[in-house]
Symmetry: C2
Subunit: 342 residues, 2 copies
DNA sequence: CGATACCATGCAAGCGCTTACACTTGTGCT
DNA sequence: AGCACAAGTGTAAGCGCTTGCATGGTATCG
């Protein structure tokens, strides 16, 4: 345990020597087995087994200039927002023999830039990124290295980068329409910080649009921005309601915030949706678990992940450039949205 | 966009040429900046910037035989069990300039073996693994490559591999003692499948020990094994309760199962803890969010993650071998455990 | 039966980086 | 002035792998 490697990690050459063939043959056994005759292959494989050989990834990438790895950078792993989509993404990649490398940026543009560099350096053949907000420098870097990039969780065919996702603005507008239709006129909004988060800002815009369409003045909206977390959602809810004329409905930028709001409401002795309505966005598992179950916008995370993987794989196999794809969301009108109280 | 890389990824040499120095100097600027005089360094750095250069990780690993990367293989990313611990692990690693590479094994020994190989091939300097159950072949492989390994989520100083974690058996026994003290005599148990999961089997053992210590016959326990998921927890609960003489308390191997059980209970019209008590394990965030909040065993996930990182970093810096560390758990007696009904 | 084609394999040139060692200066000492 | 020494930089040898090309052997064909 103290001493250095007694058997200092077997290399291709060790395998070749043991099997009595050249390194080229061993390499071929591992990569294109059908180009090697069975008898030789068996000999090589048993040498591999015997030595406990595992190819050095770096060396392989260096020589082959392909890693079969796709990088993904998500804003956070803390909550479940991206988990399901990423899981599906990974599964689909696995089907095509590719591996996923995940990094998280903590919603910071700078961290994301670093992560992008890191993943590229690690030889990611392509990248999955969330949202469009990104500095020109980063864009240039990606362009210069000509790494295929797919942007997910948003849909915007106008951007040069292909994207797969949904129309955050329209989805949230639809929810806002419903809220307004239920008679709510004073609307609280708890959103993630909008700078450098186009999903959040688009969703907010959706609410504004619906309100404007129904002649509600801009100041009928009480907005509070806070990072995604249950605690923050609860705190924001308290602040939004701390008003002589509090909103009758609080729309949250995602389910995590909404669950926090819901909890705060209960602690404050408010009945939901009797006293105040609360809505979410994403439809994560938690949305159905809370009591009452959350009215929210369902996002097809699994489909998005799966299709993202397919697009990327296609592109890597030279099947032409990617086109943006728009997926549909739909309202899950569960039990936290009710008629506005008088 | 259609054409191949117009500027085909800058290399060290390109930077060197542009800056008018040798590749060695550029390399030193990047790795040991203080060994290069400032004027040169500035010139090099601006060349790096101008070219958008990012060192090729594979090449670097190949040449330096160190990657500053630590691999972790967790059974699942699906639920939050490992999320918090891993997050803390990553944060601490970041403080020491190391990167984390995560893979998940889906609770499969075979997948885990593959992942171990993959991470080693990728040059992981050390590995964080969950639990001790592992085939001899895998152990030999690790031994042969002399990759430092730290086992987490369990504590067992008797094993050759160092571990950091808690005594799953004692923790669960303590919970079982409490359940028995509350008068429960017929106990349902919902556990993860115990083969190749020593955390699950130890927890189960803890319950058995407590029952034996109080003279409860083995058949007073109704056991149901099922993989961790809320749905499975609910289904298992229905089965466990489907009995002419159902248990008065159901102990779950973790919180995810317990939340499922709780939901099933509510759907069956049972009051918790009036009609039946339910306990969990882990104290994930969800445990406090459900209604009523879950009685469970608190596990110091963040501490565990942080200390795991420290141990590994120490070891890599040659500060001697790692010693196993035991952390304390404690009971969170919230509201789902009550006095046994008559 | 010789020519042709093809298949399995070996040879050897890198892939982009680090680092031991060599070299060139500039400094402080005698 | 002459020396040892240190600091800054360059030279070049690999790290472990893939792959284009060369080679020799066997099957196929007229």
């Amino acid at each position: 345990m103290t001493a250095k490697a007694p058997r200092p990690v077997p290399t291709l050459e060790d395998v070749a020597r043991l099997a009595g063939v050249s390194t080229a043959t061993v390499s071929r056994c591992l990569n294109t087995p059908d180009r090697v005759v069975k008898s030789t292959r068996d000999r090589v494989m048993s040498a591999v087994e015997q030595l406990g050989y595992a190819p050095n990834f770096g060396a392989r990438a260096l020589a082959a200039k392909r890693t079969n790895t796709i990088g993904a950078i998500i804003p956070t792993m803390e909550n479940a927002i991206f988990a399901r989509g990423l899981q599906a993404f990974q599964e689909e990649l696995g089907l095509h023999g590719m591996t996923l490398l995940v990094a998280s940026s903590s919603y910071s543009e700078d961290v994301e830039r670093e992560q992008i560099r890191t993943l590229c350096a690690r030889g990611a053949d392509a990248l999955l990124l969330i949202g469009h907000h990104r500095s020109q420098g980063t864009l240039d870097f990606l362009e210069a290295r000509s790494v295929p990039v797919l942007v997910a969780w948003v849909y915007d065919p106008a951007k040069p980068q292909p994207s797969i996702g949904f129309d955050n603005r329209a989805a949230m507008r639809e929810m806002a329409e419903l809220v307004i239709a239920k008679g709510h006129r004073r609307i609280g909004v708890i959103s993630a910080p909008c700078d450098s988060n186009d999903r959040a800002s688009e969703r907010l815009l959706g609410i504004r649009e619906a309100m404007a369409a129904h002649g509600l003045p801009a100041d009928a909206m009480a907005l509070h921005e806070t990072p995604y977390s249950i605690e923050n959602g609860a705190a924001a809810f308290r602040q939004v309601m701390d008003n002589s004329d509090p909103p009758t409905a609080v729309m949250c930028g995602n389910d995590v915030l909404a669950v926090g709001a819901l909890r705060a409401a209960r602690r404050m002795g408010l009945s939901v949706p009797g006293d105040v309505s609360i809505t979410g966005f994403d439809d994560i598992e938690l949305a159905q678990l809370v009591d009452p179950p959350l009215t929210t916008v369902h996002v097809p995370h699994r489909d998005m992940g799966r299709m993202a993987a397919k697009l990327l794989v296609q592109q890597l196999n030279g099947k032409g450039p990617m086109a943006s794809i728009r997926l549909d969301t739909y309202l899950c009108d569960r039990e936290t949205l009710g008629i506005a109280p008088r």
